[in-house]
């Protein structure tokens, strides 16, 4: 890697650039300044390229069969987690539906337990709402997938010719649930209620 301070080459380019500038030789001074810029940025680009390769390698070493794991494959694994939790949530909702049917039979057979049956129904409703964890965790995971895909695309561009910033899009699409320690603290339902009521809703 060209990290050494090559004084002779540096002065040669500087002097040549200066001479070209004085002679109105635009091509000449641009070429020499470009050489200087390249000398200055090369270690950075090489460093980033090395990091990208190491990242790919590190991911490859985590698999049991030592199969190379790319960033896109890491994303696919995360999407698999979302699919697994979705299946589990749907199964829970199936079971809750079945409990509802069983409760209707119970209510008909033992009318004096109607109050207990109603209590159980209330808890089944809360169990239903709790399955919303799948949506919340899914949104967080899919957001990370989006970030990893952007990093992957950005690294590809650095290794290639163009340079592009790797950023999450900033728009009004929404960002998913707030993650403690990473995002600003979210409003509670009470705070939302107060805010809405202050706005006349």
């Amino acid at each position: 890697m060209n990290t050494g301070f090559d004084r002779e080459a540096l002065s040669r380019h500087l002097l040549a650039a200066l001479a070209a500038l004085e002679q109105d030789d635009e091509t000449g001074w641009r070429r020499n300044v470009d050489e200087l810029i390249q000398w200055r940025t090369q270690p950075l680009v090489q460093g980033i390229t090395r990091l990208a390769r190491e990242l790919e390698q590190a991911l490859g070493e985590t698999g049991p069969a030592a199969s190379p794991t790319s960033l896109p494959e890491a994303c696919a694994r995360l999407e698999h987690v979302v699919a697994l939790t979705e299946n589990a949530s749907m199964h829970s909702l199936d079971l809750i539906d079945e409990c509802g049917a069983l409760l209707r039979n119970l209510e008909a057979a033992v009318p004096e337990q109607a109050a207990v049956v109603q209590d159980i129904r209330g808890r089944l409703s809360e169990l239903t709402a709790t399955q919303g964890y799948q949506d919340l965790t899914g949104q967080i995971i899919l957001r990370v997938v989006g970030l990893v895909r952007a990093v992957h695309a950005g690294l590809g561009e650095i290794i290639g010719e163009d340079e592009a910033p790797v950023r999450l899009p900033q728009d009004n699409r929404g960002h998913g649930p707030a993650v403690a320690g990473l995002d600003a603290a979210p409003a509670s339902q009470d705070e939302a209620n107060q805010l809405l009521s202050s706005l006349g809703i």
Partner: protein
């Protein structure tokens, strides 16, 4: 309250659509339809008359906030009640939704009790204005 009112549930996660649908069923509301983002919701809204829209915010395609704006901008639906059920909980987002004309805002994760309360509030207003 007329239990036969038609309700559109909009969320990209099928789990959440089913959860909201089941909780509505628990309350006796069974006349529901589903859409997975704002664009497909608008198609449903054009096809039939709805009395209430329950929508998520963060969805691929058209997000819920844009769906809300599209509903308010359409003279035939401008007064259609919209309940936002979302994990988007920043103060400025709640204000943005309020300014866009939302009728209620439920933050995920929510309890069945909270959803019931918010729905009842909207239903009370629907009855009062009927």
């Amino acid at each position: 309250m007329d239990k036969n009112i038609r309700i559109l549930i909009v969320d990209d996660f099928s789990t959440m659509r089913r959860i909201v649908k089941n909780l509505l069923n628990d309350l006796g509301f069974t006349n529901t339809a589903e859409a997975d983002d704002g664009t497909t919701a608008l198609v449903e809204l054009q096809k039939a008359k709805f009395d209430l829209v329950i929508t998520d915010w963060n969805m691929p395609g058209m997000p819920g906030i844009d769906l809300l704006r599209a509903i308010r901008a359409d003279a035939s639906m401008a007064s259609l009640p919209v309940l936002m059920v979302t994990a988007e909980a920043k103060r400025e987002q709640i204000i943005e939704a309020a300014q866009a004309g939302v009728n209620g805002y439920v933050i995920k994760p929510f309890t069945a009790g909270t959803l019931n309360d918010k729905l009842n509030k909207i239903f009370e207003r629907l009855e009062a204005s009927a």
